[in-house]
């Protein structure tokens, strides 16, 4: 596999212009100062209770995501390009979901195979032909982007259900501002803290027509044992909206209310951080206590907006991903700005054959997997793992896709041995309101802290960095 593109040093060893000041600063700052700041950051994170739970671990159920104090820098030009591409992609995704639950033109045109929709476990027949306010399905998307060269950006994955991590984007910036004011003074870094304002504006813009002038927005959380609970409460706090659990809500005459100390209050928009399956026990899992009985009926009656809409998962499966270039062209009549990683669909015999012959050099992913689980990175995998995936692929090829192992870009990272390049990706958060699409400059940069590793997920030993988009 090729040597990755380093975002600080170009191939010729020269420091790229965006990194000139930082590189100079890194050369002069003593390592123990960096180490001290790193520990300070950790203390702040811990004190603020910014932790996440790792499923399947009983020991310490609350852990910190490692935070790397060296920022990643993107130029205004790079960002402008990304923002245009992300906006286009999210519009296309919304159009696709709308189509899937209404006219299904894309299926009839034979562009996306029908079984990818109908056989998909997250396809929600309950949504067939049901209107949603303003035909808006996808309000909050996390689009994972990787880079392999000066101008080479690829979308790795679209997250269209309940993408998380945005609180880290915001807190990372907060902490960097506290720890390195002198660095900010020497860079024109575009702010990200307006994200929560933009989110609130987006959510209010999709309120049902029956809502009053200033619609009531709430965040619906599964509760404190959810791994992203910190984020749910963080966002509620910054937006000044109530953080509710299922039991705080009830439905009467198709209107949703929350229980307050002053009696019932009407709710118009629910930013839900609960999966479809648990939203309404009358329609989905009957034994779920996380949801609200009758919510779907209020939803279908057009009395409440659920964001993201129910059933948006049909757009973030990895098999659908491989059709994204065609999806963009179909709905928008435009060439896609952001490229897809070339993808083999193992459901197609030709592709499967190719994949099986190249297992040790490629990446295989479960179509419905997420969070770095259920995937195999060929060059890093043991013989046993490769054979395991070979068997899986032969048994159930439609459950997998495969991609060439990309030489992800690297960024300077503070690790035990000092400052060294580590692989990164980027998850920008795209807000798609009725009025317009909003993308705050930056996103969450995830970094694979282990040398050579390409897996950036926090559940697999990944960390995060602050992402700076330079204003000029």
């Amino acid at each position: 596999m090729a040597v990755g593109f380093d975002e600080m040093r170009a191939a010729n060893g020269q420091v790229r212009p965006a990194y000139l000041v930082l590189s100079d600063w890194l050369k002069r700052v003593p390592p123990d100062v960096l180490d001290y700041r790193r520990r300070e950051a950790e203390t702040i994170f811990r004190r603020m209770g910014i932790t996440f739970a790792v499923y399947g671990e009983t020991e310490s159920t609350e852990r910190l995501i490692p935070f790397d104090i060296i920022p990643r820098i993107l130029t205004a030009k790079e960002w402008a390009f990304l923002a245009r591409g992300l906006t286009q992609r999210v519009k296309a995704l919304n159009a696709y979901i709308h189509d899937v639950y209404t006219k299904r033109e894309i299926l009839r045109a034979g562009i996306v195979p029908e079984d990818l929709v109908y056989q998909n476990p997250v396809f929600r027949p309950e949504m067939n032909g049901k209107p949603v306010p303003h035909d808006s399905y996808l309000q909050i998307a996390g689009i994972d982007v990787v880079r392999t060269g000066e101008d080479k950006f690829y979308v790795l994955e679209d997250n269209t259900r309940v993408p998380s991590g945005v609180s880290y984007m915001l807190e990372n910036r907060e902490i960097m501002l506290r720890l390195f004011p002198e660095l900010f003074a020497r860079h024109a870094v575009a702010p990200v803290e307006n994200y929560t304002d933009e989110l609130l504006a987006t959510l209010k813009s999709v309120a049902p027509l029956s809502a009053p002038g200033d619609p009531a927005v709430v965040i619906l959380t599964p509760g404190i044992f959810n791994s992203a609970y910190f984020e749910h409460s963080f966002l509620a706090d910054k937006m000044g909206v109530e953080l509710v659990e299922g039991r705080d809500l009830f439905v009467k005459s198709n209107v949703v209310y929350m229980r307050t100390t002053e009696g019932p209050k009407r709710v118009d928009v629910i930013y839900r951080r609960v999966d479809d399956d648990f939203l309404d026990p009358l329609v989905f899992h009957p034994d779920s206590v996380l949801g609200v009985p009758g919510l779907m009926s209020a939803y279908h009656a057009g009395q409440v907006t659920i964001a993201n809409a129910v059933g948006t998962g049909v757009a973030d499966d990895k098999a659908v991903y491989s059709y994204m270039p065609e999806i963009v062209k179909f709905y928008l009549g435009e060439e896609p700005l952001l490229a897809n990683v070339p993808t083999w669909r193992c459901r197609e015999p030709e592709h499967l054959k190719e994949v099986l012959s190249r297992l040790p050099e490629i990446v295989v992913k479960e179509v419905h997997g997420s969070g770095g689980y259920g995937m195999m990175v060929g060059p890093a995998a043991t013989k046993e793992t490769i054979e395991l995936f070979r068997n899986k692929l032969m048994r159930e090829p439609e459950g997998f896709i495969a991609q060439p192992t990309l030489a992800l870009s690297t960024c300077p990272t503070f690790v035990e041995s000092g400052i060294a390049p580590r692989h990164v990706d980027l998850r920008p958060y795209v807000l798609n309101g009725r009025d317009r699409v909003r993308v705050v400059p930056g996103g969450l940069t995830r970094v694979a802290l282990n040398e050579g590793s390409l897996v950036v997920n926090s559940s697999q030993g990944g960390g995060t960095k602050d992402t700076w988009v330079l204003d000029r």
Partner: protein, 312 residues
């Protein structure tokens, strides 16, 4: 405000207050049992369990009450839902559930206490360690209380957190008084001996009122004056009268804020009236034990009324 948020604030404060009460009971008991005359027929450890109102749960887990079993049960037992350990655990869970309704300072106080607690868990503590542990619990409660007092907006959230503390505190004071009076006033009523003095002093100490006693009454410790201080004296922050003065006040604040009076306001006001209109003579005539038992029942009723009116 969400009812659940209010409930979490209420129970968070109740749990922290309860942890502190338990620490005080254990502290006082430790002192009493280290006296040289401690060979009396009463078992101080039994009375600690009775004061903490968990005799039944204790008997399910242990045969006899002694320093080791009672300390373990009241302080660290995971099987006692209101051990100090569980109180702080519950408080933090409530706090996490309403993280946004707390100020940073309050969260720091609770989260810090919870992390600190880990240092004492699963470790055999000698008496010195244990006394440090009790100090830590009292400090944690003070830090929580103080940070709430100094940093919270004076609105419904604050009032609910106060109500939790006061309902718990009234209950604790009543129980301490009840149990000790039972133990200390046998038929003969031979009051005034050395042991009695330390016993009474220990009651006062367990509600942090020994010094206050001297300031108020300016004489040696007398049982009826102790009862007077803890029941009727509104200057004494842990007295029943003071608790109800404040309960009435905060419930009135809530009623005004929401524009509606309810059952809990009426209950609190009735109790306040009763406490200020009844003399100690009348209380003793009807029987102190009976008086306190009826107080505890009324106090529970108020807790239920608050729950019904606001927290569900």
């Amino acid at each position: 405000m969400l009812s659940r948020t209010a409930a979490n604030l209420y129970w968070l404060s109740r749990s922290m207050e309860r942890a502190e009460c338990l620490a005080r009971i254990l502290d006082a008991t430790n002192r009493l049992t280290s006296l040289p005359q401690a060979d009396s027929e009463t078992n101080e450890w039994d009375s600690a369990i009775a004061t903490a109102a968990c005799a039944e749960a204790f008997r399910l887990n242990y045969e006899i009450a002694n320093e080791q079993t009672v300390t373990e049960f009241l302080a660290f037992s995971p099987y006692n839902p209101s051990s100090i350990l569980n109180c702080i655990e519950t408080a933090r869970q409530n706090a996490r559930a309403v993280r946004t309704a707390l100020t940073v300072e309050m969260w720091d106080a609770i989260n810090g206490a919870w992390h600190e607690l880990k240092r004492f868990e699963n470790r055999r503590l000698n008496r010195d360690d244990f006394s440090r542990f009790l100090t830590f619990v009292k400090d944690a409660s003070l830090a929580y209380d103080g940070s709430a007092y100094r940093t919270m907006l004076r609105n419904d959230g604050y009032w609910f957190s106060r109500l939790g503390i006061l309902v718990e505190r009234a209950d604790a004071t009543a129980r301490i008084l009840d149990v000790k009076y039972h133990v200390l006033l046998p038929e003969k009523e031979r009051v005034g001996g050395q042991i009695d003095y330390f016993q009474w002093a220990s009651i006062l100490r367990s509600v942090s009122a020994l010094t206050s006693y001297y300031w108020v009454y300016k004489e040696s410790v007398k049982p009826w004056l102790v009862a007077d201080l803890l029941i009727r004296n509104p200057q004494m922050p842990r007295s029943l009268a003071s608790c109800y003065e404040n309960l009435t006040r905060y419930l009135d604040d809530l009623a005004q804020f929401y524009g509606r009076q309810g059952h809990s306001q009426r209950l609190a006001r009735a109790m306040l009236t009763k406490l200020s209109n009844t003399t100690m003579d009348e209380i003793f005539q009807g029987g102190l034990h009976e008086f306190i038992q009826s107080f505890i029942a009324e106090n529970n009723r108020l807790g239920n009324a608050i729950t019904e009116q606001y927290l569900t």
